[in-house]
Amino acid sequence: MRDGRRASLALAEALGRSRAYKRGLMKLVRTFGGILALSALIAIAVLYGRPVAGFDIQDSPTLVSRPGADISDVYLFPSPTNSNDVVAVMNVHPGLPAGTAATAFFDSQVLYTMKFDTRYSAEAIGSRPSENLVIQFSMGVVSGGTQQIFVYGPTAPNQTGTTTTLVSGGLTTGTGLINQTFPAGNLTVFAGVREDPFFFDLTQFYNIIPDRNKGSTTASCLPGVGSGSCPTGFNATGTDFFANSNVLSIIVEMPKTVLTQAVGATGSVIGYWATTSTQSGT
């Protein structure tokens, strides 16, 4: 019994002892699955029918077609509830409309990685950073309205750079379900839908600098530089483009010692960034 899914199936077999029960269950799954699929399509249509893209939404053609790999923001801060801990956040799938908390899921073909360089202050300028500690997440296929979350590490990566493989021989530190808090070794993990914490008047930003927007080649526009119809800057009262939007968050609280006592750790300055990867690169 190598994986949790097979174990789950074994458990279902033990519990489902009548064909009638199984037929009823399958009908329920199909019906619920259909609703989920329809809801997801509506959500995608609403999101990607919007006239402007987010600050880091639809950041490339690849990410337009695979929003679950689209990282919007990362955060790293001291735990508000435990002075011995730090909290790392990685947000993806920005722009999820309000009301989609039960129907939004991670992309099961994406490997989500938090990368840390715990030797940063000891490395030479120009040859840093290079990750020496990673926490990886993969997501199961959506089933029964939920999704399994698989956590690997924290541990040294098998390789550094833009290609990666699952650490720890593909064995998990812990597993849980989407939208629920669960432990993974000495980590506390949440992966699921949250309010987008980012705030920005993106619409006016694109009015000022159009060529940052998806598919736009219009030159940047500023009085004295662009045409006579350029905006005069940000508005006196800004509008948060990300109000009423959700994201899919991966949130990890861990003891600072996970970082400071990692193999090879030197000094107190640590670098953090996050990546998404797929087998196909698309």
Partner: protein, 221 residues
């Protein structure tokens, strides 16, 4: 009855054991390979807030997203310099050089020897960037990282279009940069008839952070 109980108990135990310690994700393992042999290729990366999006034209985004952070000191720095000193930014070469050294590589830095709140770019600037949304922060501002309620947009706009760099340069801890940097008079801060690009006038007041309980990020809407 006893057999059923034993069967159910065994299945449950196997399930819990598999979930707890040694489960591979079946969506990644395929039918013939183990998960650890599969190779994944990067399609996106993020460290600091909106670095690629502000300084690089859309046509450059995909290449930056797929690139490692290590070459940022050349590729990303070129984009920063082009924008900062170009017709749009109009800043001096000194200010541009400071921005390149401050903002590359594109990673968040924390200093675990420091206490207090997170402070965006606080390690590199010795806590000299004062966030307009956080208000007075706890500690020295040298912890770094990025807090949920930090107004990183205004901090970034102030660096590029405002007087932040001449104000903080002398006291900062930015690599390859030392000493004071003169004000180039090219701010776009809304004063004296100049356009306002130093604040988008959006605060964090509309967000629903919950700093009393993990996971801290607001409940979904």
């Amino acid at each position: 009855m006893m057999m059923r109980i034993l069967t159910l108990g065994l299945a449950t135990a196997l399930s819990l054991a598999a979930f707890a310690s040694c489960s591979n994700d079946p969506t990644l393992t395929g039918s013939t390979q183990t998960g650890s042999t599969l190779v994944f290729h990067q399609v996106d990366r993020v460290g600091e807030a909106g670095l690629i999006e502000l300084f690089s034209a859309y046509a450059r985004h995909d290449a930056s997203n797929r690139a490692d952070v290590l070459p940022d000191a050349t590729a990303m720095a070129t984009d920063i310099n082009g924008f900062a000193t170009g017709s749009f930014g109009g800043r001096s070469a000194q200010i541009s050089a400071f921005l390149q050294n401050l903002l590359t590589p594109d990673v968040l830095l924390i200093d675990t020897s420091q206490s207090g709140d997170a402070s965006y770019l606080g390690v590199e600037t010795n806590g000299l960037i004062v966030d307009s949304c956080n208000g007075p922060r706890n500690g020295t501002g040298k912890f770094g990282g990025r807090g949920l309620n930090e107004d990183v947009v205004d901090s970034s706009l102030g660096l590029v279009f405002g007087s932040t760099v001449p104000t903080i340069a002398a006291g900062s801890n930015v690599p390859n940069s030392s000493g004071a940097i003169a004000d180039d008079g090219a701010e776009k801060d809304g004063r004296a008839g100049r356009p306002n690009l130093t604040t988008d006038n959006v605060g964090c007041g509309g967000k629903h952070f919950n700093f009393a309980q993990f996971p801290y990020v607001g409940n979904p809407l």
